[in-house]
Every structure is written in C-alpha cells, then in structure tokens.
Amino acid sequence: MEASAIIDILQPLVPGAVFEPGRSVDFATMYVPADRLVETCRALRDTPALDFKVLTEVTAADYLPREPRYEVIYHLLSVSKRLRLRVKVRVPSDGSLPTVQGVWRGAGWPEREVWDMFGIVFDDHGDLRRLLMPEDWEGHPARKDYPVQIRKVTQTYEPLEVSEEEFRANIERDRVKRAH
C-alpha cells in the first residue's frame, strides 16, 4: 500500500492534520506533525483496514546542521494486512514530542534509548532515564556533534549513590507503573 493511500484513510480520522508522503525505496513512509502523533498512531492501530498492531522499533537520526535537526522514526507492522509503514516526525533541536506508550506499550524502552542517545525529550514518558549509558553520563552520544573518541574517568568503582529512600521510591514507582 502506498503512503498516499494510507494518508487517504487517515485524513478523515485525524481531521486537520497535515500528512506528507515521504520518499522511500522499501515501503510506505509518511511524515506526521508532532502535535497530532498520538492521535495518528491510535488511528493507525485501530483502523481495521490498516491494523498496525506492532511497533517494531523507534529510532532517530540527527541531520545536523539541517533544521529541524532530528527525525524520529517509528517502524510499524501490520501482521494481518502484511503491511509495513515508516512514520517520521521532524523534531527541532530544542523540541519534544509526545510518547506513544499509550498506543503501544513496547514503546517505552525504545523511546528511552532515543532520549539516551539523542537527547530528544518524549513528553509524559514517565521514565526517561539513561538506558544504555551509565546513569552519570553527560551528553547524548549518537548526536553528530558529539565527539567520537573521548576519554571519561570510569566511575564504576564508586558505589551507586542511591539513598534508601530513593531506592524505595524507585520500587514504588515500578509498582505503580505495573498497575495499568
């Protein structure tokens, strides 16, 4: 299915949003404005003709020095319709975009990884902590203006400074998150 066909299905469901088909060599690509992202994703998941039930990954690319600097990329999969779709969101260098955890629960960690690596903020994420890098790391390594070879004093010999209160609060937070 071409991107334009998917946009035709989506347009009445998300009125007023400006979708733009993207250039691609493999499968349909479309640009979605950040403020309508969650609505669009929900429509993509729940429309029977599309049925994008699986979010296979979330990633980003840094197009420095272009502005808007980042593109966040969502790869969607519709098993029943044998479809793939790439949803792209343009994010300016100081911008943010909403989380799609409410649509696909599996978006939590991939979004955390994107924040960790690129510093792109996902609003209302709730758990935007370092995932791959150490907790005390400075900067976001996958950015194009981040140096490739740097030396950083290793701090792994120091005990992790988490007080008992913080630790208990973490456990409590996980319990609350589990409830939904």
Binding site: V25, H75, V79, W104, G106
Partner: protein
C-alpha cells in the same frame, strides 16, 4: 510480643549471574518466593557499535554489526547487507541468494543450539549443554571452512559474498545435515517428554498474543502465542518464497510452547538447508556484477589496468550509496532482525540502527514473570533467548 513484620525483600540478580546470558541485571522485589516486581538494568555491554559504524566505510561495517548479536552473527550482517543493497538497488544472482539462505539457516541452528543447551542447563538438565555445544562445534567448523573465522565470518558482503565456496564445502555440510536429525531426536528424547522439564516449563511465563504484539515481540515468542508471523513468509528475502517450509506455531504462549516452537524451527531449518545445498553448484558466481561495489577478481587485478584501479578505489575510497533510508528485516533466530540505514550519499553510513529482538524481549520480561516464582524467572529468561550483545549493541 513484637508484631510480625511483613515487608518485601529486594534482591539483586546479576549482572554476573550464570543464567542472565551475559550481563543483565535484575532488581527483584520478592514476597517470599513470589516475584512482586522486576526492574531490568541493561547497558553493561553497550559498545557504541552504531556510532562507530558512522565513522567507517559501508563495507567496513559488516564486521562491526556481526559483533552485535554474537550468537547469530550472520543474521546481523545479512540484514545490513540487504538494507544497503536495497538502497543501491542491487539484485543478487540466484546462487548468492541460495548460499545466503543456507548460511542464515545454519546460523539459526547454531544460535538455537546455544539456546537449547543453556536453557535446559539452567533448569537442571546440565548435560544438555555439552550435547548442544558439541553439535554447534560442527557448525563453527563450517564457518571456519568458508571464511577462516569461527564466530564472526564476515562472509556475507554488500553485493554478494566474500569469495566462492571452498572445496569440500558440500561434503562437510551434507555430513552435518545427515548427522544432525538423529541428534535432534536424542535432544528431544531427553527433554520433550521429560516430566521434570515439563513441570518446570508448562504454564510458566505465559504471554498472550495481544500482549506479545503490544510489547513489540515478533518472532518465536509471538509464534508460541499463536502468531504465524515469520518474515521469511510475510516479507520474503533471498528467495525464501521458492523454498518449501512451514512456520511452527503454538498457542499456549508458555515456556514449553516456546521450546516446542524453536525445536520444530530447527527441524525446518535442516529441511531448508537440504533444499538450499541441493540448489548450490560447487562453483559459480558469488557476487553480483556491479563493479562499483564488488571488487574485480584477483587474476584481473594483476593483469588489467582498469581492474586494478577499480580494486584500489573500492578498498581506499569505498563506494557511495544514494541518499535515502532503508529498513530490511530478516527472520533472525530471536525474531525480526532488521537494519535501518540512512545514507547522505557519501561513502560512509549516516546512521545504522539495528532492530534488536532481545531488547524488546527484556523490556517485556517483567510482564512475563510478575506474580510467578523466582525459580521460574530463570526458565523465562532462558526461553526468551536474550543475548545481551544484541540488546545493548
């Protein structure tokens, strides 16, 4: 008399724990033997391969991506090579595709053997590991034969393969394929109807299809919960549509179902290998004929000026890839393995991102084990078949 205190106990499991398949750390909150919550911590094996890849030329990335999922090295490089070839618009000759299918299926067998051995060992059948590793050794010998490297052969290249198959390749593979089914019967006799094994695995770590999709789990975990999604069937690559095979599924979604799905998958892989090796001629083309990407044969380099120039250009400047992005998934041993690449038209990738099935599997781990017993956690980790190199990249 003092009141009896009731509070949960927090236990740290890993990162150095024999059953965490590398360096996975789990903070467990326990109520007696029952798991209240799990907080996975990953990143101990993060090596920044994706960042490093941006500094290398396109062809030089192959050995790097092979080191991501180190138990299924050639699944990574196949996904990467297919993505780059997609952007370049290259079509592979049939023989190259058949060899790639054979390699991918042998890689699946090797990876599943490690899974089988460690999974069974962790829930008590220690001898299983030795039997599985012994068979995997033969697969590593095949790797050594084709590339001189046992773990990360880098045999799959952009534009085809590194070189032609060595002498004696067919005999070695056929010897393995003749021997292996009887070994599979042996493995199954040890485990499939084993009462202890079944009691440890049946009804444990159940995931429904709805939840599997919600967590982005596609691959053996979803297939054990009733999905029939297999990239090889849904989005065929390397000519998988011309092969005769079935996708094993189960509906229970528990650890035992995942075990059965993977075991049947191994038998299907043997079947696929047989079909592939029958199609591959002992000598023939091993790369496409695009001179931009594929270096000319050595005898021409030594005798023809143009070939020498081309050889020099490919190994010094590399080749450029048209502007754009591509994502080509392959069915790796752990699920959908895809490589997303972005090119800015230069001779180095702008961005390389591997879709890691283990990453998603670890994210979903808490939902699989909460409310279960701590002893079952080990069985669930084993059945999810996570590889930390794949997860942390």
């Amino acid at each position: 008399m003092a009141e009896i205190r009731t509070e949960t106990m927090t236990v740290n499991m890993g990162p150095q724990h024999p059953s965490t398949h590398g360096v996975l750390r789990l903070v467990l909150e326990l109520d007696g033997e029952v798991i209240q919550s799990v907080m996975p911590t990953i990143g101990y094996l993060h090596t920044g391969i994706e960042k490093t890849a941006e500094q290398k030329k396109w062809q030089q990335v192959i050995p790097l991506v092979e080191r991501m999922d180190y138990l299924a090295a050639q699944s990574n490089s196949l996904a990467y090579a297919l993505s780059v070839e997609k952007l370049l618009g290259l079509e592979m000759p049939k023989r190259v595709n058949d060899i790639r299918v054979l390699i991918a299926e042998l890689q699946r067998l090797a990876s599943h053997l490690i899974w089988l051995g460690t999974h069974a060992m962790e829930i008590g059948a220690v001898s299983m590991l030795f039997y599985a590793i012994r068979e995997r050794e033969l697969l590593l010998n095949i790797n050594e034969l084709i590339a001189g490297f046992r773990f990360f052969p880098s045999y799959i290249r952009i534009g085809g393969l590194r070189e032609d198959l060595p002498r004696g390749f067919h005999e070695t593979v056929n010897e393995f394929l003749d021997r292996f089914p009887t070994k599979m019967d042996e493995f199954e006799r040890l485990l499939t109807k084993n009462d202890i094994f079944r009691r440890r695995t049946e009804g444990v770590g159940v995931v429904t299809l709805e939840n599997a999709y919600q967590w982005g789990l596609v691959g053996p975990i979803a297939r054990a919960a009733g999905s029939d999604y297999d990239v090889r069937k849904y989005f065929p690559y390397c000519g998988y549509e011309t092969y005769d095979f079935t996708v094993p599924t189960a509906t229970e979604g528990d650890v035992y179902a995942r075990y059965r799905v993977r075991i049947t998958e191994m038998r299907q892989s043997i079947n696929l290998c047989r079909q592939a090796i029958a199609r591959i001629s002992p000598t023939g083309v091993w790369a496409c004929d695009d001179t931009r990407v594929v270096p000319p044969p050595k005898d021409k380099v030594y005798t023809e000026m143009e070939a020498l120039i081309q050889h020099f250009l490919i190994y010094s400047q590399g080749f450029t890839v048209p502007v754009g992005d591509a994502y080509v998934p392959v069915e790796g041993p752990r699920g959908e393995h895809g490589c997303y690449i972005v090119s800015d038209g230069s001779n180095r990738p702008w961005r390389v991102k591997m879709r890691a099935p283990s990453f998603m599997a670890i994210q979903a781990l808490p939902s699989l084990v909460q409310g279960g017993l701590i002893a079952d956690l080990v069985a669930v980790i084993g059945s999810n078949d996570v590889v930390m190199g794949d997860c942390d990249r």
